[in-house]
């Protein structure tokens, strides 16, 4: 039992030295997105997101370390006559951009592409959506989550003519955070 006098302090050092590795968890934060309707590459409507309005985010923001997993969820309806590949882009500020060209030049591709056939609908699930996030998007999202939590999302497609809408949209973030 004398060994315990050494073992217990050593265990405590191992557990406490790296910061909050013991007192941390992976916590889901979900943020509702309004329905989006896109009618062309020059008629985009952005969705301004303010994470600070989310109680779970506010609770954990100070101890947020990383984003462990994330997904854009919802049902994508292609109401046009050609197949589309939907992408979600973000700008790091609250912006009001209307064209795909300006969004792509000043923003970061966050997610996609999601193929939706003409006249069809795709309800993207968590597993399918998690695979569509870009590395650059994750970095940007993490920085925004650690920052002011305000950014703007834009849904667009390749080409200039398309017509789709997104219903029951949801941004799901699993954050690595201290508790």
């Amino acid at each position: 039992m004398k060994n315990l006098r050494w073992i217990l302090p050593c265990l405590a050092l191992v557990l406490l030295a790296p910061g909050c590795i013991l007192t941390s968890g992976q916590i889901l934060i979900n943020f509702d997105l309004p329905d989006v309707s896109a009618t062309s590459s020059t008629g985009l409507i952005g969705d301004q997101v303010d994470l600070s309005t989310n109680a779970d985010y506010k609770k954990h923001k100070d101890k947020l370390k990383d984003i462990a997993d994330f997904a854009v969820l919802g049902t994508f309806h292609n109401t046009g006559v050609t197949d589309i590949n939907v992408e979600v882009w973000m700008t790091r500020d609250l912006t009001v951009l209307t064209t795909a060209a300006t969004v792509q030049s000043s923003g970061i591709k966050l997610w996609g592409p999601l193929h939706v056939p003409a006249g069809g609908s795709v309800a993207i699930d968590w597993d399918g959506s998690a695979k569509l996030f870009t590395a650059a998007g994750k970095t940007a999202l993490l920085e925004e989550a650690k920052g002011d939590g305000g950014f703007t999302l834009y849904a667009l497609s390749s080409g200039t003519t398309y017509q789709f809408n997104v219903q029951d949209g949801l941004l799901a973030l699993v954050i690595d955070a201290g508790i």
């Binding site: 790296p18 910061g19 968890g25 997904a71 968590w126 597993d127 029951d168 690595d176």
Partner: protein
Amino acid sequence: MRRAVLAVMALALTAGIAQAAPIGIGVGAYGGVSFPILQDDVSQGPVYGLRVPLKVIPMITVEPYYLTSHLGHGEQTIGGVKYTRDGFDHTGYGVNALLGTALGLGFGLHPYAGIGSHKLVRDGTPEIKETAYNFGLGMGINAMPKISLQLRGELNMVVTGDTSRKFANATVGLTYSL
């Protein structure tokens, strides 16, 4: 004559050391349940593994191990819609140091700690391959020669930067002393 005495003394000394700290080795297999701790995107799943306890010095057993676990889907209901996320395939190897022995006859409790290299894999998440720490308490019941029943509860902590993914593993296994 002197050589004979020294040889007898050496033999007696060696036998004494061997009796006080017999070197032992065993092999064991175990299975149980792995419960994620504070993880919203994964749920419990089965865990299996192998251990090779080596008693090399008194009161300490060094035990290399291999672990594999298939964690269950994470399930979350948001806005009345149930979403699921694939669980991780968790594999790892390392070594634990047990206070006491998992070998020999009788009944014993042995706290232990260890370190390993663990990997968490699932589609859509970058592979996590990091150092893991183990802390646990085992109970050995040797109902028959050479075979012991091992019951263990442990905290397995895979460090991911400033945070970690933690699992509470409850296992039962059999160890055979060679």
